[in-house]
């Protein structure tokens, strides 16, 4: 490297942390330099949040050491970490919305006079601090009335004012619009010039290249690389994050173009402000459309818009849906289900299964909901349905009456698939159908997806497993930064092509 030999302000060496059954961090190294923005990147479960938790004293570690300015440190809690000069700002600002900006800046260390808070002095000082960040706001106003970006900056200002030398920003831009991001970046540049070391966690690759000086990539608890940003091409970065080599080719079973049927559903200019840029999407009968993109690129957002959980903005040619060529609308999951849609969410435990209900009840829930509460299916019928699908999908459970929460992840996923199959859907949306499922069940679910497609069902499958997508998808939609950026079809559906498109 041509960088002049500098000593890092903070080094993390050989950090290991295990949770029962999981090695969240495995001998991870990280070097933070004063006056640098260091991007910390990785997909879900890579170990980013564990790293931050250990560093800020929220949780302990198994082994490894932290060296700050040549001194070994071991912060046991957040207060100690703050005292050592490590400040953290989370995505969800953890300040008090109903208190004023000044109160928030000085919480716990208000200037006192005669045993009372000296409000006037506090406000003067607060105004000075705020002015340094180029904000023109009333420091007496409640924090909650300000935009998220300004709240983020106030949180940063507070952390910096608490004499932080290392600032950790955990996904600060997740809910900001372009202008707000620019505002935040100005602040970050200013702090970098003042010699602060900044850890920047984000999913937005454009932002990584816009602001960061150095990149560390984590995958499955291991450090894949620590590079200078200008020396790491995008495509290499994407490969590192997804863990693929460009040369790798996967088997693709895409059908000839003419084999696919008529268009079943078509979405036009479908989007929602601050959520997902408008996109066009159509799915034909018997077609599997894959959705690929990095974490935070808008994969689940696409699914939730399509299924009516989030309402798309409509009017003046935006937010149009047609099914079989006929215009319609989807404003709620109930409407989506009535149109023959189904959705297996990524968050299986909180959004998919109803844990304390039985496998049988979970399987018939959507069908019963569509029939309405008055037309209850007789017990014998539900028993039959449950038994049939438990057999068909090979759901491993002692019996149909077992509470579904006691089943393994793969069997829960199969039960969720069964829930939609009994409704005889036309269009199924599967969000990370193989996440957290053991290898055996993994293959079964892939086979199942292919079988469904062969039966004429249309599928939209979101997955971060590129091998899987390339294996079954006829087309792949590529997402980046909450927008649909490209569509690949035919012989273009390869892992390397997908990765280069994501990185482009």
């Amino acid at each position: 490297m041509q960088v002049p030999e500098r000593k890092p302000l903070l080094s993390i060496e050989g950090l290991t942390k295990t949770y029962p059954g999981v090695r969240a961090l495995d001998a991870v190294d990280l070097h933070l330099y004063a006056g640098e923005v260091h991007a910390l990147l990785g997909e879900n479960g890579a170990g980013k949040s564990t790293l931050i938790k250990v560093l800020t004293g929220l949780t302990g570690r198994d082994s490894g050491r932290f060296v700050l300015d040549g001194q070994e440190i071991s912060p046991a809690n957040v207060i100690q970490a703050t005292a050592l000069g490590i400040g953290t700002v989370y995505q969800e600002v953890n300040l008090l919305g109903n208190m004023s900006v000044a109160d928030n800046l000085f919480l716990g260390r208000q200037p006192m006079r005669l045993g009372f808070v000296d409000k006037r002095r506090m406000r003067q000082q607060a105004a000075q601090i705020v002015a340094k960040y180029g904000l023109k706001i009333d420091v007496a106003a409640p924090l909650g009335q300000l935009s998220v970006a300004v709240q983020q900056i106030i949180a940063i200002a507070r952390a910096v004012d608490l004499s932080a030398r290392v600032l950790i920003l955990d996904e600060p831009t997740a809910s900001l619009d372009t202008q707000e991001v620019a505002l935040l970046f100005d602040v970050m540049r200013q702090l970098r010039e003042r010699g602060m070391a900044i850890v920047f966690v984000t999913h937005f690759l454009d932002q990584v290249y816009a602001i960061s000086d150095r990149i560390t990539v984590l995958r499955n608890g291991r450090r894949v690389a620590e590079r200078l940003t200008r020396e790491l091409p995008r495509i290499d970065l994407v490969q590192m994050m997804l863990g693929h080599e460009l040369s790798e080719t996967a088997l693709h079973r895409h059908k000839p173009e003419n084999e696919a049927g008529e268009t079943l559903v078509r979405f036009e200019k479908y989007g929602k402000r601050r959520y997902m840029a408008p996109f066009d999407l159509s799915v034909r009968r018997g077609e599997i459309v894959g959705v690929a993109g990095l974490l935070g690129s808008g994969r689940t957002e696409t699914a939730k818009l399509v299924f009516g959980i989030e309402r798309a903005e409509t009017g003046s040619g935006r937010g149009l849906v047609s099914i079989d060529g006929k215009p319609t609308h989807i404003r709620s999951p109930r409407e989506a289900i009535r149109r023959g849609f189904g959705y297996c969410p990524e968050e299986r435990k909180t959004e998919g299964i109803v844990g304390s209900l039985s496998v049988r009840e979970n399987i018939i829930l959507a069908l019963q909901a569509r029939r309405g509460w008055l037309r209850r299916m007789p017990r014998r019928q539900t028993d039959e349905i449950a038994a049939r699908y438990i057999r068909m999908l090979d759901i491993r459970t002692p019996d149909a009456e077992r509470a579904i929460q006691f089943l393994s992840g793969g069997n829960q996923q199969k039960a969720l698939l069964a829930r939609w199959l009994v409704t005889e859907p036309r269009f199924l949306i599967l969000d990370e159908p193989t996440r957290g499922i053991d290898v055996g069940a993994h293959a079964e679910i892939i086979r199942l997806i292919e079988r469904l497609c062969a039966d004429g069902l249309s599928l939209l499958v979101i997955s971060s497993e590129l091998d899987e997508i390339t294996a079954y998808a006829d087309r792949v939609v590529i997402l980046r930064d909450r927008a649909h950026v490209a569509e690949l079809s035919g012989s273009d559906v390869t892992t390397s092509k997908i990765m280069t498109t994501i990185a482009a």
Partner: protein
């Protein structure tokens, strides 16, 4: 676990065993303090005895606990049922005194309860106010409404038809027992004969997942609160008919707590999800058997609440042995 507690665990693994054991223990206790507890004879063409008292006096709390079970199963709570009792009693008493036919009087009182339930349901399901706060509003205001209807007095009446709803007997069985049993059957039919019960349990256990499966949480919650208001109105009519007067200040006072207790003793979690109507009824009867037992025992009234607390704690401990397993 020791051998005894392991056996206890196995025994308590059967759903409802804790409640039945507690009921048996309370009845046994009553028999010990008052050997005539199980004696039943006929007086003026109706059954007469302490066991009948338990069922008859327990009828209002049984009624309240039926509606309360559904509300709690959705993950909510209904603190207003006592006040709704007062409202429906007040409506019934003032209308019967104005010469309204009995059928219309009952319909109006039930309608008042239905409106109260609808109000709660709208606050909780549409305006998304926390159930404990939303129903607290009617708990406080409802008694005031009842007092306005009765002008702060006990409105007495002597309409035989209305009085019979509280004190009459059919085939020798006191009418409140029959009404409670009928409402139990109707509620069971409503939730188990339709898919409403499944939807209530689904919404209570995981509202978001249910919504994604197409269950309308709003409709389900409003239905539960409406049913709770209706059950409270029935209980209110019985309570007024029993004393031949509408006592706005005292009718149903604190009974919401007994109803919640009955549901909890009946094993339904306050967090929502799975529920059992029969066990909630068992819970209500346990509580009433305890109340009656204390009255029969000759204990000083200062001990009433302590005895009750100890027994309730024992039942809940038995249940928690099962849960921990």
């Amino acid at each position: 676990m020791s051998a005894t507690s392991a056996r206890l665990t196995r025994l308590t693994n059967i759903p409802g065993s804790a409640q039945l054991a507690a009921l048996a223990a309370v009845l046994l206790g009553n028999w010990l303090v008052f050997p005539g507890f199980f004696n039943i004879r006929m007086v003026d063409g109706r059954l007469f005895g302490s066991v009948i008292d338990v069922l008859n006096r327990g009828a209002p709390v049984v009624l309240l606990s039926l509606g309360m079970t559904l509300v709690i199963a959705t993950g909510g709570i209904d603190l207003s049922v006592g006040a709704v009792m007062a409202i429906s009693g007040a409506v019934a008493a003032t209308l019967i005194n104005a010469g309204t036919p009995l059928v219309l009087v009952v319909a109006a009182a039930l309608g008042a309860g239905l409106l109260c339930g609808l109000w709660n349901g709208i606050l909780v399901a549409l305006l998304r106010i926390q159930p404990i706060v939303a129903t607290l509003i009617l708990m406080v205001a409802g008694r005031g409404i009842a007092q306005l209807i009765t002008a702060g007095e006990i409105v007495t009446f002597d309409d035989r038809g209305l009085i019979a709803l509280g004190t009459g007997a059919l085939l020798a069985i006191p009418v409140p027992i029959l009404i409670a049993a009928g409402t139990f059957a109707l509620t069971t039919l409503l939730v188990r004969g339709t898919a409403l019960g499944l939807f209530i349990e689904a919404v209570g256990a995981n509202e978001r997942a249910s919504a994604y499966a197409g269950v309308s949480a709003r409709v389900v919650k409003i239905a539960a609160y409406v049913w709770s208001g209706l059950c409270a109105a029935i209980a209110g009519i019985i309570a007024a008919a029993d004393i031949q007067g509408a006592d706005a200040n005292n009718a149903g006072l604190w009974l919401e707590l007994d109803a919640i207790l009955a549901v909890v003793v009946g094993g339904t979690s306050l967090l929502g999800g799975r529920f059992s109507l029969p066990l909630a009824v068992a819970g209500a009867i346990i509580i009433q058997a305890m109340n009656t037992g204390i009255l029969l025992s000759g204990l000083k009234p200062e001990f009433n609440l302590i005895v009750k607390a100890v027994v309730v704690m024992a039942v809940l401990l038995l249940q928690s042995v099962r849960r921990r397993d």
